[in-house]
Subunit: 340 residues, 2 copies
DNA sequence: CTGAAAGCGCTAACAT
DNA sequence: ATGTTAGCGCTTTCAG
């Protein structure tokens, strides 16, 4: 054995056969004597041989690695999606290289370079909140590396997308609030550059319009997913002469902040103010009161993204980008009033 | 350009120089004409050249990838540690390959194989709750790949470790409970195979002994980190003729389950039963009541693990395993009684 | 300061 | 059914 780790060369020498025969035996190719194969497999196991993926990647120009770039994985959202990706990826023989942009465009770019250098076969990503230029992503696509976006993307970008029906979910949530008697409904919105934010705002607006409720611009506050921003925005709402009687929140961490702020101000939920959010974090269920929410199928988002991506990777460079839109579910808990 | 992606060969041909010169220019080696270097760098950038990490890994027998295997990353614990790892790793030019064992020994083994195949330079890991054989890990170490453990390890294993002072943290927590007047203190413990579980139990026991409080075996219930197990155990405690007046819980997800169970049974916290846990998840702060906890320096655990590992990777195969023990902090919130 | 050439471990024609 | 050989893209002696 030359280094610490056995290679097909070691096996070949000990068995007095050629390395190509060993290679064939190991990947149970067609033309191979069962006896030879058995001997190779036996010795391989004795030597604790593990194929060198680096070498075969180089040879095959294929790494079987899928890159994932997400803004963060402190909150449960992205990890749950990644779980879904892992499910499909591992079953199809792909490994995952994961990194976080920390919501920073600079780090996102650095991550992309690392992924390209590592020659990932494809990339699944959700943009950072800062991302407003797209050269780094175009560069990946120009190399023929397929990219699948989820959750956070921008209309300027082509590429496959896995989305939830943000518009419909938002509409349903606000519609529900109205049907429980709320009339002055605020919206803590997401970063303006993200398509998702716009769609949720549109759903919010249309639900109001559908019920002939006037839109008040001052009740729509973009929150940018910055820590502390939601709290500040909520406090701002509470300081108004006329307080809102409901808040529709763009996502879960933002909603938690809003909730804490409401409680600090001794606002009774949902009697004085109802709270509902786009979400799927488990905390929603064990904060007090448990949050009503538009729940997204996170695991399935991950699975779908992985399936789309692997499909594109394997069908070669002429894939057609496609978009899959998944349904959300309105789950009513205790932070909104009952219907009757 | 041969394929989609530029190589040093492409640069060499266009500049009519040799690939070795290009290579030197790109890694600003010593003996290189500044003019040549400038030309190479310029063309590289024009071609959007990204070095092929696969090729250089093969050549150098070094991937600059650190593998991380954790049981899960749904709860905030492991992601926060990974953040710390990423911090140090990226600064030192390493990439991360992350996977989850899903608390399964089988998957842990598969992950290890994948990591070995990918020729990671080192491995950072926390064992799954099922792990009770260690051949797969020994096999990694036999290859000369350094392994650093954190949070979950076993005494049978050698290798570097980053720990928190489980014994001391547990002792302090239980001591605090006693000083607030609790006498019948239960413990929802971790899986028995993990060293950590044992140390926390020992801290629990010694605190009781220090105050001359008799140990009641039936109040110590191992919870194995299985979903639902903690709830069941808590219910069991509540069904006793004489209920405990405090519960010390091995970790955060377990504590959340216990909390929910207590609330379902309309137990007043902390008046009837105090609750305290080993933790660092942010939920602790926004459940109702916020949980008192022994807080661990998660980011620092990750940084320390990465630093240890990279040190070992770079100082070659003769590294000496070492153990770093970090301090915890007792944070009193609302789930325990005040001292006076 | 630059070029030629070997080789990291593996796969896949192409021979035999 | 097996062996020979070239080469994936890069780094690194060794020569010049």
């Amino acid at each position: 054995m030359r280094g610490k780790q056995a290679t097909i060369w070691d096996i070949a020498v000990k068995l007095n056969i050629s390395i190509s025969t060993v290679s064939r035996a190991l990947r149970n190719a067609a033309d191979i004597n069962p006896e030879t194969k058995k001997a190779v497999l036996k010795l391989a196991s004795e030597l604790d041989y593990q194929p060198n993926a680096i070498a075969s990647s180089l040879r095959n120009s294929k790494t079987n690695i899928i890159g994932i770039i997400v803004p963060e994985f402190i909150h449960a959202y992205f990890p749950k999606v990644i779980l879904g990706v892992q499910d499909v990826a591992n079953q199809s023989g792909y490994k995952l290289m994961i990194s976080q942009s920390g919501e920073s465009l600079e780090i996102e770019k650095a991550n992309i370079h690392a992924m390209v250098s590592s020659r990932v076969d494809g990339l699944i990503m959700a943009l950072s909140r800062e991302t407003d230029t797209y050269d780094h992503i175009l560069s990946v696509q120009k190399r023929g590396i397929p990219v699948v976006f989820f959750n956070r993307f921008a209309d300027e970008l082509t590429g496959s997308k896995v989305l939830v029906d943000d518009y419909k979910g938002a509409f349903e949530a606000v519609d529900y609030l109205i049907r429980t008697g709320c009339r002055r409904i605020a919206h803590l919105a997401g970063p303006e550059k993200l398509t998702m934010s716009g769609n949720r705002i549109k759903g919010y607006l249309d639900a109001l319009k559908a019920h002939n409720i006037p839109v008040l611009e001052e009740l729509i506050i973009p929150c940018d997913f910055m820590e502390g921003k939601a709290r500040q925005a909520t406090q701002h709402l509470l300081n108004m002469k006329e307080r809102p009687d409901a808040i529709f929140v763009v996502n879960d961490p933002t909603a938690i902040e809003a909730l804490i702020c409401l409680k600090e101000n001794n606002v009774r939920i949902p009697d004085e103010i109802s709270l509902i959010c786009f979400s799927n974090a488990p905390h929603s269920t064990f904060v007090d009161p448990p949050l009503s929410a538009i729940v997204q199928p996170l695991f399935k988002i991950g699975q779908t993204a992985a399936r789309l991506l692997i499909g594109q990777v394997e069908q070669g460079k002429n894939f057609i980008p496609s978009t899959e839109k998944l349904e959300t579910e309105l789950v009513i808990r205790k932070s909104t009033r009952p219907l009757f």
